[in-house]
Subunit: 212 residues, 4 copies
DNA sequence: CATGAATGAGAGTTCATTCAT
DNA sequence: GATGAATGAACTCTCATTCAT
């Protein structure tokens, strides 16, 4: 009753990537432990060696994906050699690339956030597991706030520098994020436009929208 | 063994409204036939007298919601006394109002479309039911295309009239829709801004973005 | 996907009796929903039509069994034509008969009480189900206290009447109950002695133990 | 990949004591290999170096516990300076102390015997393991018979010596054991009475019950 | 010896769906 | 039309057990 001996073992990381892929295809509720397991040639039971829980696992996926983009965007935002207009263009590009390319959780995030917001950790769990879940959840939301804050900073500093007209920063940023996120819903590989071209068009749109 | 004595019997319409409400609260997967039935004081079994299927039912909900907004928007777009700038402002307002006020299918649409796109009609069904489902699905997508076409018409005619600069119309419309849809994700009643104010800000943003 | 049409439907009562039987054979943890279902020719899923929960179901079994014996014993205790010595003999007989004959939950009670005492209602349940469970649990314990109180009353009144010597009533009653309960552990049908004979011997033992 | 560096390795004995503790807390079914392992700072897998089986392990625990009490009782029974009345008092005390103090197998025995009686050795095991299990089982029951025989001997010799009235020895002994075992069910530390006091009351009860 | 990784078997539970009444 | 009872399929999760390292 034990297998998978020589073949290199599966790591947490591997599972997270597999899960991200399944999540993208099937959505949160549509994703089963069996699906994820199959993706890494394991049985569902085996996943519980690496994650205490489906929720914990999926949350880890989203957090990972988010952290990844946030890092990229952060380096742009901190680059003092760029104007805020240029920063806005670039981070829109990065965000959209994250939707159109397969970067884990990029797509997932659009749809699945509602589950995390609403959801009590699945019932009948040990206190430790609930603690683990809440920790992950807090971590995810923290990352999420940081992510949004980066966009806000660019707009705010752009306004201060006279590069952008004064606007309601939170609403504008939500609008940009909404537009970008939505790309993952309608983008199709091999469509009329590449991800790059789409990003170009959208970035231009918002730069003009904010023009003083 | 038949209940529902005094109260007049429930209609398809009643069920659709109830389902829309549940859908808004619980999401597609989270919505059970029992939930919907409870909302109209029926048992799950009874729903099958009115709809052949959960999928058919939910699809009807989305179609209904969509048709409703489409009607409203259509009357604006056909009003020849308005400029295209004015039309754009108004339809953005209507679309967002549909997200922030409780118009059920409005909210649902953001998240749930994926199910309809992806989903094979649930296995093991009679051919008639599958046919019914596919008909509904086609109908939904037709409505959806009409809906989007209305936005596209405004932008396109605005460009032709010199009110808007030339842009990639499909991408721009998707961007506007994405931004509007996203409102339902982050809007909270009693928040800092009313739905009206949010709509105002977003409309202004896109009008400027398209300024020649 | 629906069966069991004409054959007379299964009632809650039927299930309780079936469950009692399985409980007796397999013990609390050893009893599966499938086992119980099989006993009444149903599938496990069907049981959830009648009981919200395994715990709720099993608790109902124990409560039912207990209530049954308590009723019998009560009528003896209230019979003012009997001496307390006679009452003690009779209730010991009844209690032991309950262990040796197949009266539901008689046997179960010996082992399974620990589960009810210790156990949090299984996690991940709706609030209503938890409420239902707690109600049943309270009801069970109330019944249990009543049951023990009946024995105590006989001993106490016997002492007052000079039929019994003064003793520590609670301890003595626990001792009698323990001895009786234990019968279910070692009694085997077709053994050297009948249930009646065993009861006779044990009753005699305690009557003498209490002799002034 | 081997841990447990400084501390000297765990012995079978250590595991048995740990298991007894867990058994007492959680009951037979509620006790997992992981629980036991955790108690001795091992992993579940490691337990299989010491015992072929969960059942074998737990059986060993019960046997150990039983053997321990049996020894104590034996020395009393063999003490020719004591009357049988005195012997009975003392062995009741020992037996009850075994329930009220933390001697693990004491408590466990009450509940868990059923598993051993009923249970086929878990399926799918090697013949050797089954053999080992059956050996342990036989050994357990032998110990159990010896234990009961000690009580029987006291009663029987007491009758022969005229210290006790003639009774059905097996039934009487079962009754005494049942009463004693039951103490573990209701005894609570810090309750109104100490274990000693309870034992006193019960011993007195049975001595009088057997008085000629 | 000990462990981490893996697994099969099964448990409880949910849910869309069916059908006789 | 409506319901209660029933079901199959699926899902999450647990656990004893194995085996290469």
């Amino acid at each position: 009753m034990a297998r998978k001996p020589a073949e290199q073992a599966v790591s947490r990381e591997d599972i997270l990537h597999a899960a991200a892929e399944v999540l993208r295809r099937n959505g949160y509720e549509g994703t089963t432990m069996k699906d994820i397991a199959a993706q890494v040639n394991l049985t569902a039971a085996s996943l519980y060696h690496h994650f205490e829980n489906k929720d914990v696992l999926l949350l880890a996926v989203l957090e990972l994906g988010l952290r990844y983009v946030a890092r990229e965007i952060e380096s742009i935002v901190n680059d003092s050699s760029l104007t805020n207009v240029e920063k806005l263009r670039r981070i829109v590009h990065i965000h959209i690339a994250n939707q159109t390319e397969n970067r884990p959780a990029g797509v997932a995030m659009v749809y699945e956030v509602r589950h995390i917001v609403a959801q009590q950790p699945r019932g009948g769990l040990s206190d430790e597991t609930i603690a683990e879940y809440n920790a992950r959840r807090a971590s995810f939301f923290a990352e999420r706030r940081r992510f949004e804050a980066l966009f806000q900073r660019v707009v705010r500093e752009g306004i201060a520098a006279g590069e952008f007209r004064p606007v309601d920063v939170p609403v504008v940023v939500k609008t940009i994020l909404g537009a970008n996120n939505w790309v993952s819903v309608w983008y199709s590989e091999g469509g009329r436009l590449s991800g790059e071209q789409i990003a170009e068009e959208i970035a231009e749109l918002f730069v003009r929208a904010l023009h003083p």
